[in-house]
Subunit: 152 residues, 2 copies
DNA sequence: GGTATTCATTGGCTTCCCCAATGTTTTTTG
DNA sequence: CAAAAAACATTGGGGAAGCCAATGAATACC
């Protein structure tokens, strides 16, 4: 008597439900991997974005990553405390805080990026490379409703 | 100078990140739709599962939907308060609570299911039917790691 | 018959998301 | 040029969801 995990087909077929489950697993895998470096997902995302965008304001970071300003303050607080980034007033616009990655941040990022990539590989292990690309394509078109709303 | 939403490509290409964003949008769409009937996502999922599985224990419901026992208590509490389900001790196993859908629950479910389906249609509006099916297939294979772990 | 397991429940903790208010600085506008 | 409007960082509060631990009652296993 295998007590199979009954699957309510009604719910299970909904993209929103599947997305939630898949996202939960992805979050768990990545978070666990990053935790081995004492890093959390959002912190890693911000660090990666700072590395890519250069000195950037917290507001811009928040818009890029869909992170609430309130949470951004906390995340940057943590990253500054760990000396992975610096937060200095932007001389060109003194409202803004210019967030810049530090050498230690760059070093940490190199490690956490590997961990994140490995976790993502495990997440998509059941997929062929072509399928993985297709998944990324489909998700990209779903994730943001107005990718070209700007041009309309 | 269009202040485009800068997209950190490093992060944006990660399936885990895309899944998170897409799931967030799906959650928002579905939650907003269900809210118009005073229903929340988890409540709707449980109601739907109860309708499909018949009288069922909370533990089984939790396993089916990956809901924590603690949260299940609250959800069933709410559903009972709204008289959408009944919770009675199972005579065959007095540890269990047999959760059963009520006529009112069936009626409400019919409405909330339409709302949920509509929200999912909007979520996948950018996809062709074939692409939507493929997305469901890919997500299904990603969402649960051990679909056949039982046989290992 | 005694040990282990399952079940429902309560409690506490953490993360993420959303809204509101404030003081400072910039931009827009009249 | 001065007043109004907007943007920025910050603080505060609150809701939804997830995760682990502990408890008492009931069942299953040995």
């Amino acid at each position: 008597m295998a007590e199979t995990p009954y699957v309510p087909t009604r719910i299970r077929a909904l993209p929103s439900w599947l997305l939630g489950r898949a996202a939960a697993r992805g979050h768990r895998l990545v978070a666990d991997a990053l935790a081995r470096e004492g890093m959390r997902m959002m912190h890693h995302a911000v660090l990666s974005a700072v590395a890519e965008l250069g000195p950037v304001s917290q507001a811009d970071l928040g818009r890029s990553l869909s992170i609430d300003p309130k949470d951004m303050v906390m995340i940057v607080n943590d990253l500054v405390a760990e000396e992975l980034v610096t937060r200095a007033p932007d001389p060109r616009d003194r409202r803004k805080n210019a967030v810049t990655i530090s050498p230690a941040g760059t070093r940490t990022l190199r490690r956490t990026q590997k961990l994140g990539d490995a976790a993502n590989a495990e997440l998509t292990a059941a997929l062929s490379p072509a399928e993985r690309d297709q998944l990324i394509d489909l998700l990209t078109r779903i994730a943001v409703p107005g990718l070209d709303d700007r041009c309309s």
